[in-house]
Symmetry: C2
């Protein structure tokens, strides 16, 4: 995994930290990974900052779950009030759950009429796949080459980024992520690749069920451009009888700055939308939004009861998140501060051969680390930048096919001075790398 | 679905309630079901009671999620404090998450050394299946004939109780639930059936991966007896190379009164344990507990990151749940009050031909409704009892192959007078049925 702690380095850590890591490994086991060369213990979060046990402050330019701000009083207050009043499930009637569902649907494309609640993005992807493959025994799924869509068995089987230890299903085909930095017409190329993958599925006895795609191609190294990118791919999917499932777990809830949903910047209308991470600012809530008719056949044959899905407390949190996004103007803020942050990184990149490919949308940005000798992508240098920033109190991570790409994904209430601090810290680390490229 | 509201009855309801149901159906769609002939709208819960918008009080003898009591101040307080301080994930270090994992493991069989966190029981089942089928390409799974194990694609494929609309996988075999009311040796019979199912899987090219079984056979109509029931079945599974996965989503966390975990009353030691519903008293948290070595191979090849799994707020809730179970002596209470409730229902059953087969463990009880003419199971009469109790302010539901079985599953802090109230209300409804069996 990119940016994973290597347990062999444990002996070199502070003894207390090392002891906690040893306990953790004993009880949680080896499937769990930690971030950073020196893992970070956290005890408090407030606004865009996190704090370790020694009171050190970290600027959070990474976490897209507590998206409206750590421990946001509006959300924490809603959670506290609801937990003290009632927390129940959807087999009883609750006005709040219905009202939130209506409010959420209203933020989507007009064709989207319904929502179903889950607890995680993985469960939402899993449900979307169940619905898409329910029709006419269709089973084939097309995803991008380094896609990540979740941890259930069905979601993991369509997540090539999990690596060779997690085989893709025989019903899965991948397409290369489009690149807008290599000439050509990335939208048309993606459309052709999706069409060919659909045909190949059909040819192998897997009639295509779905094109499942993250609206920003986040785990493919963040490839959101140009706007409109997904149009021909969606057309190709529909021509093959497949549904278009928009994975908005990363792109959604105002992250892109331009709109509430990442698919909106591509001018496409999804059949199914999966939502998760920032939906409840850290409370476990995810959801599936859908064209109404798509749920009729499925819902008539299949009952769906997710015990905690749509529970009173998580819905209260999610409703408060929409309040905060609207009242604090976080979409506009993401656009404005994201632009400033991007300009700062681009300026830095212009002055060094180590940094290239600055890209992104709103407050989700990426840049590649390049080997100064060969100009090739350098995951090693990216790792040094990520850890160098951590040592300077700025949290980001890495992504991309090789892990060569900085993943900069600040909390939505980032202010201009926070963006400037990220750029200044990055400038320091790049300067250090220039002097000692390793 | 058993005890489902029939939407054709909407016109006969109070207009405000009918309007809310119509809004709900429009936005959530047809896969969602409501309980009762007259659905129940809830606005508040406290201790063992729930309240509707008119202030009517309902005694909760059904919900096993808010198991230590609705809006329990200890749990709600822990949630409120943690939500205001920090809510983050397992790629940072948090002492609280490690400490809770250790505490949870210590409640299990000594062979269980590790835990992995999910958000739901479905995700825990799904992960258990991923781990069990990771070994040597084993894929076969044996479950009981009316089992329910969850809503992800993989969990639904091993859940025959979801009905014909949800096909079982080709790698799945079912065994009849054991009956201790028909003579013979139910434990030996179950063992033989599991052995035969394992052999049949092998014969069809699906080397057995797991026996997945609810420790109380809850959705098979609650068949927990005799204690020790599962011994031969577990032996048969292991002889075939399969793991034993204990589904403790319903049976766990002191529900049975005798012990923390349902498998303990059968004297068996699981390979994997899945937990969910009552774990966080309504906060979405589930988990997988495991023999340590089982996670080594899986964890080395597969990284598992569940964004919300093991998050700070849900762990705080789960830790408070263990505090409450211990400090309020809820296991002992479940044993004592459960016995009183069971005796009351048994006494009632002795005086009527309508009610039979009283059974259960701790505060999870069942009784069958029987047609007075034929003595056969009567789902119709069970439905009338469930709705008759609801009209008298007592909440239960139904289960079993046909829906003929009352499912009585009170909150763990039930006091003797609450048990007596359930029995008194049940006596009234039975009396009504005696006079008018329909």
């Amino acid at each position: 995994m990119v940016n994973a702690f290597d347990d062999r380095a444990r002996a070199g850590l502070d003894p207390e930290l090392g002891a906690l890591i040893a306990r953790r490994e004993a009880v949680l086991g080896p499937a769990y990974r930690l971030f950073y060369e020196r893992p970070l213990q956290l005890v408090r979060g407030e606004g865009v900052h996190l704090y370790d046990p020694d009171g050190n402050e970290y600027l959070d330019a990474y976490n897209n779950v507590p998206s409206v701000g750590h421990s946001h009083p509006r959300v924490a207050g809603a959670v506290a009030r609801q937990a003290a009043r009632l927390n129940t499930h959807t087999r009883y009637l609750a006005e709040e759950t219905v009202a939130y569902a209506e409010r959420l649907v209203a933020t989507h494309d007009p064709a989207i009429e319904r929502v179903m609640f889950t607890c995680t993005g993985s469960e939402a992807v899993d449900l979307a796949l169940r619905i898409a493959t329910f029709r006419e025994s269709r089973r084939g799924v097309v995803v991008t080459a380094n896609a990540y869509h979740g941890v259930t068995a069905a979601a993991a089987a369509v997540s090539p980024s999990l690596g060779e230890g997690v085989p893709l299903g025989p019903h899965v085909r991948t397409v290369p992520p489009p690149r807008d930095d290599r000439g050509g017409d990335p939208a048309a190329e993606l459309g052709r690749a999706v069409g060919a993958a659909m045909a190949d599925l059909e040819r192998h006895g897997f009639p295509p069920a779905a094109l499942l795609i993250d609206s920003l191609l986040s785990s493919d190294g963040l490839r959101p451009d140009p706007p409109g990118l997904l149009g021909p791919a969606v057309e190709a999917a529909r021509a093959a009888g497949a549904l278009y499932i928009a994975d908005e777990v990363q792109a959604g809830f105002a992250r892109t700055g331009e709109s509430m949903w990442g698919y909106q910047r591509h001018g496409v209308s999804p059949d199914l939308v999966v939502m998760g991470k920032p939906m409840g600012n850290g409370m476990p809530i995810g959801g599936l939004a859908a064209r109404g008719a798509l749920l009729d056949e499925f819902g008539a044959a299949v009952r769906y009861f997710n015990t905690f899905g749509g529970n009173s407390v998580c819905v209260a949190a999610a409703d408060a998140v929409l309040d905060v996004i609207e009242e604090e103007g976080l979409a506009e803020n993401a656009a404005r501060v994201g632009e400033r942050l991007r300009a700062g990184i681009a300026e830095l990149a212009a002055g060094t051969s180590l940094l290239g490919g600055v890209r992104g949308a709103g407050l989700f940005l990426a840049a590649d680390l390049l080997d100064p000798g060969t100009g090739r992508p350098s995951p090693e240098l990216a790792g040094r930048v990520v850890n160098g920033l951590r040592d300077r109190g700025v949290l980001i991570s890495a992504t991309g096919e090789l892990g060569e790409t900085l993943k900069i994904r600040p909390l939505l209430p980032f202010r201009p001075e926070h963006a400037d601090r990220v750029v200044a810290a990055l400038a320091e680390v790049v300067d250090e790398l220039e002097r000692d490229p390793g």
